[in-house]
Symmetry: C2
Subunit: 603 residues, 2 copies
């Protein structure tokens, strides 16, 4: 059975989107702090902001909070809510604030006060408790719904996030407008855990990590490698149809290459350290570095010959593995890694070809998303900020032209979109595809960038129809973005139940006894010849176990083989998506699988 | 027309193989030195050894030798030969030698003398000239054949190869037993230049190098990338048939991985410098390095789960790009590079499976060579030196077993072979495939190694049938060796005329006028659907030019399209190998091309 998200879709607003939630979460964090100080008089308060799905508060306290403490604190909070204390705002002078804080012996508040600008405001919960706060808040603690509040976890934190300063206890909580929202939030949290691609990836045996190899560097097992090739082969086919030309380039280059491209000046923080034979070489910046991007390499191929307008658009494409030196604390699973494969292409085009080529790239990207069965996405048009022209390189005219090309392409394709003013790269505007998953989490997938800058830096040319030398424009594009990240997102989105055409194993034949093994093997071999990824369970288990194993391995189609099936040249089919389908002729099963493969669809 | 090597095969012995050639070349170098000193009295002699195909002599002289000088020197040499001077050996004391050299004012000879051990021998040319030399020599200068001698080139060299010492002039020459040998040698030299894969690779547009990227790091153009994929896809298919499992692993790892594998201790000189954030990290050897080999990565995948004997042999395969820090002076074209892709596989097997798996690996390798149409190779069995057992790790029994597996496999397959005693790796014996090309040059292609050592270092295990934990054996193997090197060798061997199944473009349709372009395009499209790499020349040139261009691009099959052809639904075929074939039905042409692809053959 395919895993379904709750059928009645409840939208969960983010704090940043809802003034009401801001008020609720601000007040709930104050209520929690008041409860903590009542129960733990030695606890000193520090900061307690709202966050995307709730709030937290950091305390300096000699006692570590336990899960049991959280329950006690929650009970105390309910009491405070039920007392319906009015929440009142008071504006005070800095001196007054200082005097009052000093009287309470709250050194952190004093430090916070120093950083505040006037007017300085306090918020009171009745006459029992107050905190420095800019608000906003609900009017009365009775406006909070205890059934919409949950204290979630405790974690250590440092004052000001600085490891050399005091260690604090942070309590995370969440608060919503209604208990239904809280329930939905909790359901999604559980669902996210269940769908965690690190967990599913391990269960399905797709990739591993190794301490000896290092964090953020996945190793792909045979099954995961198969999944990668299915994706790569699919995109290669689509690209070949559209006139892309595959190339292969090294994973390293001399620093000089990245100086000329500008990556060294702008991007070296994100690059792996240089490979230098000596300290002197290091200082002189003579040495090799791993590539964080493929563009300058493709440019070298373009530049290796004098190009004619007849050769343009030249669409060089590579599944290029790049390496970026993410901080090891930021690494987790496949969605943030140190080495990843970009389905990269660089299109070298004449300025006149911009509109058409941009449109074609977007069309390809949309067709890719459709095949991947991802439908819920928007286009972010990342444009320059017209109020700040000095931030960008290139003429007004070029920018207008490029931004119009993006806007026209998106309009023509009727894509849901929004403009991100000021979010362009310094060398050109771009279009980012933002995908929202089943749990309303947003992921950035593919990107298309228009670039007038690198052609200048590398002095690229082509011979125009009139014989003059002209400067080409470059498009950078990657529909998948990163193969690793895409696979992580797909696992979470499908909860491991890949569409049939993508599943590493598409059908597993389950012979219910030794007598039926040969028939199952022959049938699987027949399927394999047609490009179907079929396998036979040779475990010799009883039917119940065979099916349970196939369900656990998330095989889309299970085919039971027994005496009845052999006699009728058919298979008893059970699918993950629809359960028992009964007996189907082998030819029909094959047709449906071949069709799934040909149409990027399901069984 | 296919390029043919001279039909009457003359074998050219190497100096190291022929006592006669040693004598001839030693004496010729003395004759040359005598001639030089006669013509250039200020020239001081240094050393003048034989080399593989001839000899050289280094002189300290104020004048740079010109090509014209070489002619004059050669004339003088002929005079010396024609004088039939006896070559006589004299044994002298060190003091005597010193006195005689000092009298001649030859400071280099004096330095050479210091390094010599007794007995010290001089060789005289008549009573005119002598040199310190250990011989051997011919008996009389008249034994040399002036028609079998050639002075080839002049180059700069340093005394003792040391840049801080005096700069010398080196004259290269060659000398043979007969003028026929010299002619053959000259023909091969020309032929080697003509076949030079760097030249042909550039002409065919297969790969480029970029100064900004760095030496030894080829970038593959669309056409070269196509050639790579044809080779990769071919081998992948063969490997899938034989139960290999593809994996993908990163290009870098922490130093720790290579410490455990032993590469860091044994191999770090050949690795790119470490990527370390600081000098401290560098000293502590905390950091990342580029992989020089794929084995430890595949081992991590093996080790990521407890393996059962049922899973063995486990054949993990990867087209893994590795990086080795060859000295930049050693880099040239594709045959010695700093980054290359190994068609790598590591087989994890039970000790009992060794014979069969080794045999299967050799069988696969031979089938690969057959498809590549390379037939002239021998197997070198690189075994341990039984006189020096301490050089090797592992028990006598394991070595005997491994060496027998290699010997048996080679015998069973009736491969020409020779034993290289003492040439095993310290961790196990290996089999190297030595290919001899059309010019009698030898290249090492694929390798198979038996390894008991890495399974120990990584403490690899499997659960045996009896439930105990046992140690697997590893086979390392790569039929291509390196994709880059293989392509370099193939280009030279075929002189760019790839077998039809390998050619990036297999057939070019040549419409002889605008009216025939559409038919040519339709025919090419029909061919492309069947996997034939067909293209149409849209240049609009006249037939002669169209054919010349296709010949230059070394397209195996050219198909002329005109009115007559369209009417009869046929093509006028001309091949590189056989010239004009006349008119063939389109269906026949397609059949022959599909057949070439299916059988790894020719049109």
């Amino acid at each position: 059975m395919s895993e379904q998200v709750s059928s009645e879709k409840i939208h969960l607003p983010k704090t940043s989107e809802s003034e009401d939630l801001k008020k609720i979460r601000h007040t709930t964090s104050h209520v929690m702090a008041m409860a903590v100080q009542k129960l733990f008089p030695k606890a000193q308060v520090t900061i307690g902001p709202w966050i995307e799905n709730g709030f937290y508060y950091d305390f300096d306290t000699p006692d570590a909070f336990s899960d049991k403490d959280l329950k006690t604190i929650k009970k105390e909070m309910i009491k405070i809510i039920n007392r319906k204390l009015p929440v009142t705002r008071e504006e005070v002078t800095r001196e007054d604030a200082k005097a009052r804080i000093s009287a309470q012996n709250e050194p952190y508040k004093l430090e916070i006060l120093e950083g505040l600008v006037e007017p300085i405001t306090l918020y009171h919960l009745g006459d029992q408790w107050w905190d420095l706060c800019a608000g906003p808040h609900v009017e009365n603690t009775g406006d909070l719904d205890p059934k919409a509040i949950e204290l979630e976890s405790v974690a250590g934190a440092y004052w000001r996030g600085d490891e050399t300063k005091a260690q604090l206890q942070r309590i995370y909580g969440t608060a919503w407008q209604t208990s239904e929202q809280l329930d939905e939030y909790k359901r999604r949290k559980e669902e996210a855990l269940r769908r965690d691609h690190r967990k599913i990836g391990k269960e399905m045996g797709l990739f591993i990590f190794s301490d000896l190899v290092g964090p953020g560097l996945p190793l792909w097992t045979p099954k995961g490698t198969l999944l990668r090739s299915i994706l790569e082969d699919y995109l290669k086919k689509e690209q070949t149809k559209r006139g892309y030309l595959p190339v292969v380039t090294p994973h390293i280059a001399r620093v000089d290459l990245f100086k000329q491209s500008g990556h060294w000046q702008k991007y070296s923080e994100d690059m792996f350290p240089m490979m230098a034979e000596s300290q002197e070489e290091k200082e002189k910046e003579i040495g090799f570095v791993m590539k964080p991007m493929n563009c300058p390499f493709h440019i070298q191929i373009y530049k290796s010959d004098l190009r004619s307008y007849r050769e343009l658009p030249m669409r060089l494409a590579e599944f290029g593995t790049v390496y970026r030196y993410e901080q090891s604390g930021e690494l987790g699973g496949l969605t943030r890694v140190r080495g990843f494969t970009v389905d990269d292409s660089h299109l070298f085009i004449t300025p006149e070809q911009l509109d058409e080529e941009f449109f074609n790239v977007v069309e390809l990207t949309l067709s890719v998303f459709k095949s991947l069965q991802l439908s819920n996405f928007r286009a972010r048009l990342s444009f320059r900020d017209p109020a700040n022209p000095s931030k960008y390189l290139g003429s007004d005219e070029a920018w207008e032209k490029a931004q119009n090309a993006i806007r026209n392409g998106v309009t023509k394709l009727e894509m849901p979109n929004f403009e991100g003013i000021g979010e362009a790269a310094f060398y050109g505007p771009k279009l980012d595809f933002i995908f929202q998953d089943a749990l309303e989490r947003e992921w950035q997938l593919g990107t298309v960038q228009v670039d007038y800058q690198l052609p200048d830096r590398f002095d690229l040319e082509y011979v125009a129809e009139d014989g003059t030398r002209k400067r080409p424009v470059m498009l950078h594009r990657a529909p998948f973005g990163s193969l690793e990240r895409l696979i992580g997102i797909l696992i979470e989105e499908y909860a491991g139940d890949f569409p049939t055409w993508l599943a590493p194993v598409q059908i597993r034949l389950l012979p219910v006894g030794d007598d039926f093994v040969q028939f199952a093997k022959d049938t699987a071999a027949k399927m394999q010849l047609l490009g179907i990824r079929a396998e036979v369970d040779l475990g010799g288990d009883r039917l119940g176990k065979l099916i349970r194993n196939a369900e656990k391995d998330k095989i889309p189609v299970m085919a039971v083989v027994g005496a009845k099936e052999i006699e009728s040249n058919s298979l008893s089919i059970r699918t993950r998506a629809e359960g028992e389908l009964g007996s189907l002729e082998i030819a029909t099963v094959i047709d449906r699988l071949v069709n799934a493969n040909n149409t990027n669809g399901n069984f």
